[in-house]
Amino acid sequence: MHIRRSEEEIAANRARYEEHQRQGLNATPKALPGKSEKPAPAIADDHIIHRETIPGGWYWSTRVKANEVLRISLDEGLSTLSLIAWNAADTTERLNLPDTVKVQWTTGLAKGRVIFSDMGRVMFSIVEDSCGAHDVLMGGSTASSNAKKYAGANGPALRNTRDNFVLLATKAGLDKRDIPAALALFAPVRVDADGKFLWKPELVSEGDYVDLRAEMDMIVGFSNCPHPLDPNPVYAPTAVTVTRVAAIEPAMDDLCRTATPEAVRGFENNAFVAL
């Protein structure tokens, strides 16, 4: 027989939730900065560990160490770059977008926000972001979504994000079961009142960039394929540049580490595991 909780306990838990909710929906968004200025500030040559130009349609993965920064930039035109990541020391810990959006009370990732693993720890800080227009819900393309979208253009033969992720996961010693839900950078997707997905092209333009600071040692995978909602009827992804920048220890008052109570607690979890 189920024993109901007392009215007092329910009321106390509801009051606590509503306080978190007020903070998350009102106070936090007002305290966050806007978009980063364009053009992206130059990175000194001696800080660059590696620079990769990922051709349209292709994948790339890299190891990255804590406090290094990955700058992802649309230097050659518009494209969507899908991202997945694993903790290098324990690949069962991986990118978790449902947790990322739920705990931060928003699907709108932008400068000042963080990206969580499934273990309540921060994987990335979004330290710069000139557009704040990314998709956390729909993921990337697949062979069948390409076939449908590019009918008559040999759609199934076009490279897609699902297959790219299978390839890069396998080459990292993992397999398709390890592929988490993907973050699509530079994919201006929003949701209307009925839950329908909308593409907002005005939110992204050439030269946009995102700087992701790694908050743990990771394996990071990228796929550069058109987003399924991208209205361009021609399959024409342009190259995307990923620059791996040498680690700099964040300041005590670092924006992403202090902007929200959720991020503060996430970083406390990071610090505890690092002991």
Partner: protein
């Protein structure tokens, strides 16, 4: 207990092939065969039912929230939704829904995410992810196999400015969803134990799962 509602003249409480009462906060799993009709009942109302599906013949093929949302172009689950797998195949089709809105973007609660969301003091509370790990472990799987899930009867509106929040459930006692399996599926449920947000009305309750044979 609420009155049983028939959605087909041929399906009654007397001819189910499975009928399970699932206690509050508990995990559960069962195999539903291709063609069978599955009903998940929110017996007391406002109870989130976290659910995953795996191809019963190959667990590496599993429910994919992103494929499901992408193909239907809508962020919520309701009647007509095709439940898609990581291979882009239809695992099940939702054929009835007396509630009207179900989430598949907010995932399952965990001890770890609870600490981030509600404070470190909530770490030692039972959570859906632990339910999922216990249940998939019975089938030879592990944490890495626990993918983003469906939250039946959980109300998580996403606003046009991208904000999202879990609000009071809109399901009444006895509300149900029905799905027809399009392949043999292992269904894994966590009857959500969360008491820190309104997804269970702050008071988790038992649920019921019924299965009938294909009438086609």
């Amino acid at each position: 207990m609420t009155q049983f509602v028939q959605t087909s003249s041929s399906r009654t409480l007397n001819n189910t092939v499975q009928d399970h009462y699932i206690p509050a906060e508990a995990p559960f799993s069962t195999v539903v065969k291709k063609g069978q009709i599955l009903r998940i009942e929110d017996s007391y109302g406002q109870q989130a039912i976290d659910t995953l599906f795996y191809n019963a013949k190959d667990f590496s093929e599993r429910y994919s929230s992103q494929d499901t949302m992408r193909e239907q172009g809508v962020a919520y689950i309701s009647t007509g939704t095709k439940i898609l797998s990581s291979e882009g195949r239809v695992m099940a089709t939702m054929t009835a829904d007396t509630c009207g809105r179900h989430d598949t973007s907010a995932g399952a609660c965990s001890c770890e995410s609870n600490t981030v969301r509600f404070g470190h003091g909530t770490k030692y509370l039972h959570a859906c992810r632990d339910n999922f790990v216990i249940e998939v472990s019975k089938h030879g799987m592990s944490k890495r196999d626990v993918a983003p899930n469906i939250n039946f009867f959980m109300n998580v509106p996403i606003a046009s400015d991208a904000t999202m929040t879990i609000v009071d459930g809109i399901s009444a006692p006895g509300d149900y969803v029905e799905l027809q399996a399009e392949m043999d599926v292992l269904m894994v449920i966590s009857n959500c134990p969360q008491i820190n947000n309104p997804c269970n009305g702050f008071d988790p309750t038992p649920i019921r799962v019924l299965v009938w044979n294909d009438e086609r």
